[in-house]
């Protein structure tokens, strides 16, 4: 029998009481939740451990004298604390999450289940290879899929995120130039629309960064590229499809010019999800490209990582790939972990152990589920959904590049907001009140007041229509002079707009005992 599904009738006098303000300051099911350090857990623990006969005499004065000052919670308190906090987050499981360039698609739960199999999760990176043949086999199969899908002969699996992959690609390029006696190439060319990680990575590796101009239709300016290429250019870094959501039509010519100048073509593969299964970057002349497994292959974003950024490499760069990699030996699979012998040209090591195995399992599970046919459909539906949104919203909003189709994301500028008193930021914050996460704002930098919308292929037409209806309603409101609605937004989120200037001016980066009058903590004196 179901529990009280009708609910107790509300007493009229209670419903009328003080409008919507509760007696305790509570807001219905949305619980305010103090910090962990304000829950009075100074003498508690939520873990039952066996008593041991403890003797630290061998450690002498190495033993910590001061307590850590950390509170503990019983399991029910801890579960409630973190579940309450979770409810203050928006998530792809709640609604379309249109963050352009971030690819917020559904995360299949089978991937989570597979990653938690003891044969993968409870495996130590340094146990003998004979006891990890299945794990090495999975890495090998993942590598095969990535190479086949990109048409590239080699892949370095270990980079832990997209930016780490960029570092991997540029270090391989640098090593290749040095091996060829061209260590004097110092410049890297990057389009003005690039992700910030591109110039940051190039500078990090010691290159000077020069911008390539963009044409009026949002692509790399070939003439400008030709003029800037020269014998001191080490590489170009081009995102394709680019951050305006457009395919670089002249990509093969870009690669040709780059190679002619003796430089390498690094492709930022953040947007590979738009072409997976349909177009192989190897056919475009790419020398190195990272693949964000958390974008194209749907490993969860987890509130900011962990990611994974394997890098596919051309034959010219393959010998310089970092250790480790899986090797087929006589007694089965092994790992080549050191840059010696046949691996002597490897540029080094990018992290301890072998990279993000947990992400490899998820990504491989996703690939196997979709197969060659499903992945092709992924790209097609992602592009179809974006073009549908572009077509529907162009009714009121101004697309940055109206001519021709977009790829997996639709880019709008803020021309249509002119004179309304509403900015891109205001508009985005008002989306929160309508139940959607804002789109990517003010990126790419080349478009004024940019609004970059990426729906992904895992949205139904119904959800797309709901999203378009919400944005069109907001757009009408903006045009109708309701600027106040936008300036105040969001009003229905757990918090109103936050003072980011205050946070940066007086950084408070941790709780301190004197911050709260709740509990006198035995905190270590500073």
């Amino acid at each position: 029998m179901s529990m009280n599904s009708v609910g107790r009738p509300t007493r009229p006098e209670a419903a009328a009481h003080k409008g919507s303000v509760s007696l305790t300051g509570g807001r219905g099911l949305l619980q305010d939740e103090p910090l962990l350090f304000e829950l009075d857990g100074w003498r508690k623990t939520g873990v039952d451990l066996p008593a041991v006969d403890f003797d630290a005499s061998d450690l002498g004065d190495l033993v910590r004298a001061e307590p850590t000052g950390l509170p503990g919670l019983s399991e029910p308190e801890a579960v409630r604390h973190y579940v309450r906090l979770s409810q203050k987050n928006h998530a792809i499981d709640l609604a379309l999450y249109p963050l352009g360039s971030c690819t917020m698609k559904h995360n299949p739960r089978l991937n989570e289940k597979m990653a938690r199999l003891a044969g993968f999760a409870d495996l130590h990176p340094l146990q003998p290879a004979t006891t990890t043949q299945g794990a090495l086999e999975l890495m090998d199969r993942l590598a095969h899929w990535l190479k086949t899908l990109t048409g590239m002969p080699a892949v370095a699996l270990s980079p832990k995120a997209g930016a780490h992959g960029e570092l991997c690609g540029l270090l391989a390029i640098k090593a290749a130039h040095e091996a060829a006696g061209h260590g004097d190439r110092r410049r890297v060319l990057v389009p003005s629309s690039a992700h910030g990680t591109n110039p940051a990575t190039a500078a990090f590796v010691g290159y000077s960064v020069q911008e390539i101009a963009q044409t009026a239709d949002g692509r790399v300016d070939l003439a400008d590229l030709g003029a800037k290429l020269g014998s001191d250019v080490a590489a170009i870094m081009v995102t394709n499809p680019n951050t305006c959501g457009l395919f670089e039509r002249d990509i093969i010519e870009i690669a040709r010019l780059t190679h002619e100048a003796g430089a390498y073509f690094y492709c930022d593969g953040a947007n590979f999800n738009a072409i997976v299964g349909r177009v192989r970057p190897g056919d475009l002349g790419v020398d190195a490209m990272h693949i964000n497994l958390h974008k194209t292959f749907s490993t969860p974003h987890g509130g900011g990582g962990p990611g994974a950024g394997p890098v596919v490499l051309s034959a010219a760069l393959a010998p310089f790939a970092p250790a480790p990699w899986v090797t087929h030996g006589q007694g089965g699979l092994t790992l080549t972990e050191e840059a010696v012998g046949e691996a002597a040209q490897a540029f080094g090591r990018l992290c301890a152990f072998h990279g993000q195995m947990g992400m490899y399992v998820r990504a491989y599970t996703y690939m196997r589920s979709h197969g060659a046919d499903g992945l092709r459909q992924v790209a097609e539906d992602a592009v179809l959904n974006a073009n549908y949104i572009k077509a529907r919203l162009s009714e009121v909003m101004t697309p940055a590049f109206p001519d021709g189709p977009c790829m997996h994301e639709a880019l709008f500028d803020d021309a249509w907001l002119e004179g309304t008193g509403v900015t891109t930021l205001d508009f985005a914050k008002a989306m929160i009140d309508e139940g959607f996460h804002p789109m990517t704002m003010y990126f790419p930098l080349v478009v004024h007041g940019a609004m970059l919308i990426e729906p992904t292929e895992t949205e139904s037409k119904r959800e797309l229509d709901r999203f378009c209806a919400a944005l069109l309603a907001l757009a009408q409101a903006a045009k109708a002079g309701e600027a106040e609605r936008f300036k105040a937004a969001p009003v229905l989120a757990p918090l109103r707009r936050l003072d980011e200037t205050l946070a940066a001016r007086k950084p408070r980066l941790r709780w301190r005992p004197d911050d709260t009058a709740v509990a006198p903590a035995p905190w270590a004196a500073e």
């Binding site: 450690l59 995120a161 190039a202 990279g355 979709h370 804002p438």
Partner: protein
């Protein structure tokens, strides 16, 4: 396909709204030469059951750490993680949200990061911590480059007790950025040689405790020497549970502490994903890499949290950023914070004491094996031993008896000439029976 909601009718309707004849028309900007008409040579889509069968088959060909006596450590440790941790991190709102760039609808993630930063500061005995790094090794490399920014010097001295993978990672990344990396020879008591390597050009000294051989050291003297030369001390820890028992890096004079946080809340995962911990003295905060979460107020004066000081980061500063790092290890940091909030001060201390007690038991048992020499004088939960002949051969022989006996040091650093050194760790998951099984196999194999 179960993950794709559009029906053929939906697609036709949408194409009509777009005004395109077919989907191919949307790909018209792709050069003809690169348009593949055929599917690539890979298997076609598969149902859950089929995929699960293949993956379970692969998993079954591995020997999980929990399947029997197991003594591997060397930077990754098998600990028990409470069931509630993995349950909470699979909440949709944590698992399937993005980086908290829209703070009004990401207070859950942000408050967790603020709690995480507070916990890391407390464990390391330093004032500020960031919202996590990829892992301990990359955090180490980032710390070295941060020291370069702070001191404007180019040389980093790495102790021979630093995990060889950390040293190699730092060498690769920091060297690429133009630094000179001085890597001292691997030795069980490597810390003794560090002070002599410091000079007026040194930006930082990197010392690990407990070191890769398990040796726990008071690094206060090294801190004094580094500071006297105008250099920073970076203290690395690969076993975060040791913070519960051993003196904190901050108390010993560290300017930056980095660690691998896997031990708390996170599974072994064959090496990743893990979570890098990064803490420093407050005056260095503007040179820190990675994301930082800070407290502020909303438009109605209510407390809230945001990502802050982002003018250090690549998406604002581009080529002038302190680091190219973009992501952190959010979900692993969440697991860390939940596990640590269950432990609390008392639980962490007790967990650390149990780890130490198990290692003492292991130490006592190994002393009964003729031919085994224990090299680690003061340890937390890990020992280095010298065996007759090759440590790799010892591990292989033990495997035949169902025991994973540890990590041969030569696997981490083949050039060090330490083929006879074996690293063994014991944690709260190690039982007396496990230790007895190890002792039996060593007695049997070394006696022959």
């Amino acid at each position: 396909m179960r993950y794709l909601p559009l029906t053929p009718e939906d697609r036709a309707e949408m194409l009509a709204v777009i005004g395109a004849p077919d989907v191919d028309a949307l790909f018209r900007d792709v050069p003809q030469a690169a348009r593949s008409k055929d599917l690539f040579e890979l298997p076609l889509h598969a149902g859950e059951l089929e995929v699960e069968r293949e993956l379970a088959g692969l998993a079954a060909r591995n020997r999980p750490a929990g399947a029997g006596p197991f003594f591997c450590g060397a930077g990754a440790y098998r600990h028990h993680v409470p069931a509630s941790v993995d349950h909470i991190i699979q909440r949709s709102e944590f698992l399937t949200s993005y980086t908290p760039y829209q703070p009004e609808i990401a207070q859950g993630t942000l408050q967790v990061l603020f709690e995480f930063q507070t916990q890391i500061a407390a464990l390391t005995g330093l004032e500020v911590a960031n919202a996590s790094m990829y892992d301990g090794s990359t955090a180490c490399a980032e710390a070295v480059m941060m020291a370069q920014r702070v001191t404007r010097r180019e040389k980093a001295v790495l102790s021979g007790g630093l995990h060889p993978h950390y040293a190699a990672t730092t060498q690769t990344i920091a060297h690429a950025e133009g630094m000179e990396i001085v890597r001292l020879a691997a030795a069980v008591d490597a810390e003794a040689a560090v002070i002599d390597a410091i000079d007026g050009e040194t930006a930082c000294v990197v010392v690990q405790t407990p070191n890769v051989f398990g040796v726990a050291t008071d690094v206060s003297k090294i801190a004094e020497a580094a500071h006297a030369a105008g250099a920073l001390l970076i203290v690395v820890t690969t076993e975060a549970v040791s913070y519960g028992l051993l003196k904190s890096p901050g108390v010993m004079g560290a300017d930056i502490a980095v660690a691998e946080g896997q031990s708390i809340g996170n599974a072994l995962n064959f090496g990743g994903p893990y979570v890098g911990l990064f803490a420093a003295r407050e005056k260095l905060v503007r040179q820190m890499p990675g994301r930082l979460c800070g407290e502020t107020v909303d438009a109605q004066g209510r407390r809230g949290f945001v990502l802050t000081l982002s003018t250090r980061e690549q998406h604002i500063r581009r080529e002038k950023a302190t680091s190219n790092i973009c992501t952190n290890s959010g979900l692993c940091a969440l697991a860390f914070t939940i596990h640590l909030s269950l432990l609390g001060d008392a639980g962490l201390r007790q967990l650390a004491e149990i780890n130490h007690a198990r290692a003492r038991e292991l130490n006592a048992a190994l002393q009964t094996v003729p031919g085994v020499e224990i090299l680690t004088p003061r340890y937390f939960n890990e020992l280095a031993i010298r065996v007759p002949g090759s440590a790799t051969a010892v591990v292989e022989a033990a495997l035949a008896d169902g025991v994973v006996a540890g990590v041969p040091f030569a696997r981490l650093d083949p050039a060090a000439g330490m083929e006879d050194v074996l690293l063994l760790a014991a944690t709260e998951t190690t039982t007396s029976d496990d230790i007895a099984a190890l002792t039996r196999t060593l007695l049997g194999n070394l006696g022959r």
